[in-house]
Amino acid sequence: MSILVKKESKVVIQGITGSEGQFHGGQMLDYGTNVVAGVTPGKGGQSTLNDRVPVFNTVEEAVQEKGANTSIIFVPPAFAAEAVIEASCAGIKVVVCITEGVPVHDMVKVKKVVDQNETRLVGPNCPGIITVDECKLGIMPGFITKKGSIGVISKSGTLTYEAIDQLVNVGLGQTTAIGIGGDPIIGTTMKDCLEMFEADPETEGIVMIGEIGGQMEIEAARWAKDNVSKPMVGFIAGQTAPPGRRMGHAGAIVSGGDDTAEAKMRILKESGIGVAESVADIGDLMKTAMENK
């Protein structure tokens, strides 16, 4: 078990013939991801990635011809919203949107559509999902992971890698690691991930890495207090970020009140989550929590 993606997931890559789609498509295949199709309008009928993947004009065809049920999107920002909606309308169940720089007005509409269609969207502007040794639906380096029992949730890419690396160093492997993205509107929240990890029998502990801006970490922590039975470790990036400045991620901006690192760390602690004051302590804290459970 794991969450969202597994060995059997049938993956379609939207934007497969672009440079990102080509590079990461190849990496995903090498990892063992079951890539069954690619989509690039106008290039249907071709095959790509050394003849390993057939290309279709529409997601609908990829679903009908190859049974695709999972999608990853590498299309430019101006077309990314449309690509998510296409996947959702074609009946794809899990969609990861890697694209960075999707206009937020587009995402507000997309969010409404995927909610209505009950599509699980992850991202945009995220590193994607990896279920260790089964399916890499994203751009993270697969070789840093190790199969194990910890679920990892993060808003950020490289900070996810940092956490995975620390976990491996203390001897803890992962079930699934999921980077939900740092934009103001994203498909899957931290609370959504917690619900899935709590329900997954293979996951025995959870690392949750947040940052300044928004209320998502707080919502997740409050839910965890009454509903998560597994040991949890949290970290919030941006303790030194000045208010009113957007720190790289479009959503990482302190606008006053509960969205500072300090406030979030306090609420995580109050909810019974082990909080790492320093990013370097994530692995050790998780190890201690697993030993004491």
């Binding site: 206009p103 993060s154 490289t158 940092e162 030194t240 790289g248």
Partner: protein
């Protein structure tokens, strides 16, 4: 992206909203003619002289002056142009006023607040109005939240007129003014949508003594990610209002924000960059900047990042922290070596490289002959760089 009040009002006026309007000057020799033109074109003796900077709180800081006649307007204009305006949003060092907006003046009966922004939690836009305008809305929200009326807008339906009416009822207006407010709110929402704004705020929206509703101020922030479809608005960008280093960094696809400390840092990824700043602080240092070199850092971007960090004279030591995923550490190492050779090593540099090709990178650094300080793990890296900064 932020724009000035006068630019926001141009956008509002184009959408048909009644704004308090006027003209802008940026050279003191144009002050007289600008004031006279406003007096003539708007048929008014009294005017308002308003500093144009990208920060709120201008009135309290002395950057907005009511001027009953030409002489006082000219005096105010001379005082405001070129002044260093300090507000709660500019920080202590303030912002130089390079543009002055001279507008018509109104007799104000009441001041309201109106704004649209994204409610991240609900995933919908929220339109807020309040009968308490002209003051900080955060204060109203904490002290008298019942005085704020909100409607959430379905993204697939857009704002409906019943919602605009609900907002206008919240302000208790005379009949004609009520109709006018409903129309203004609809136009305001359409503008917000049309230009991909992240916030449009009118504070205050006023009721004049002759029952007109007028937009007196305009704060408009745009979504940088959507500027590609608004070339006309992208042109409104005023680079004078932005930090020159940040502007330069953006040209190289680097995300740089200058801070006040003395430990420079260069990191890949926004989350890791913030965490790096935090751990520098925990180690007893003070970060000089946020710098995210992004997911595709090449030798060239690393070099440019390095140069921008070192252009800050406060920087006493630099930490390079890269977790290679897509980014290959050997390329980063080559960039560091190249940068050090070209720019010279003015301050100690601590380098921590992990992930893809980290071993190759360590070899490159060791064999290069440049005297960088290697570190393993973020904790050690932070301790080493802080120590280096303190002994510099």
């Amino acid at each position: 992206m932020k724009i000035h009040e006068y630019q926001g009002k141009q956008i509002f006026a184009k959408a048909g909203m009644p704004v308090q309007d006027g003209y802008v000057f940026d050279k003191i020799e144009d002050a007289e003619t600008t004031i006279k033109r406003v007096q003539e074109d708007f048929n008014t003796e009294d005017v308002v002289v308003k500093a144009q900077i990208h920060a709120g709180g201008r009135g309290k800081g002395g950057g907005v002056k009511y001027s009953p006649n030409f002489d006082s307007a000219l005096e105010n204009a001379k005082n405001i142009l070129g002044m260093n305006l300090v507000t709660h949003q500019t920080g202590e060092k303030g912002q130089l006023v390079r543009k002055v907006y001279v507008t018509e003046a109104f007799d104000i009966a009441e001041e309201f607040y109106a704004a649209i922004t994204l409610d991240r939690g609900k995933g919908m836009d929220v339109f807020m109005v309040s009968s308490e305008g002209g003051v900080e809305i955060e204060k109203v929200a904490t002290e008298t939240p019942e005085k704020i009326v909100k409607v959430w807008i379905d993204p697939l339906l857009g704002m409906k007129s019943f919602q605009a009416r609900k907002l206008a009822y919240g302000l208790v207006l005379p009949k004609e003014a009520f109709k006018s407010a409903v129309k203004i709110f609809m136009q305001m929402y359409q503008t917000y949508q049309q230009i991909d704004a992240t916030i449009v705020e009118v504070n205050p929206l006023i009721l004049t003594t002759d029952d007109k509703v007028v937009v007196l101020d305009a704060k408009v922030n745009l979504d940088d990610n959507a500027l590609f479809r608004h070339p006309d608005i992208a042109e409104m960008r005023d680079l004078n209002e932005e930090d020159p280093n940040e502007v330069e960094a953006a040209e190289y696809n680097l995300n740089y924000i200058k801070l006040d400390g003395n430990v420079g840092c260069m990191v890949n990824g926004a989350g890791l960059a913030m965490a790096t700043m935090d751990i520098i602080k925990l180690a007893g240092g003070d970060p000089a900047n946020f710098l995210d070199v992004g997911g595709t850092a090449s030798a060239e971007t690393v070099k440019n990042g390095f140069r921008i960090i070192l252009s800050d004279e406060n920087v006493k030591a630099v930490l390079i922290n890269i977790f290679g995923g897509i980014v290959r550490c050997d390329r980063v190492a080559n960039g560091v070596v190249q940068a050090v050779k070209e720019l010279g090593l003015k301050v100690p540099v601590v380098v921590r490289l992990e992930g893809t090709n980290a071993k190759e990178a360590q070899v490159i650094l060791a064999e290069s002959g440049v005297s960088i300080i290697p570190a393993v793990g973020m904790k050690e890296a932070a301790q080493k760089v802080v120590k280096a900064a303190l002994s510099a």
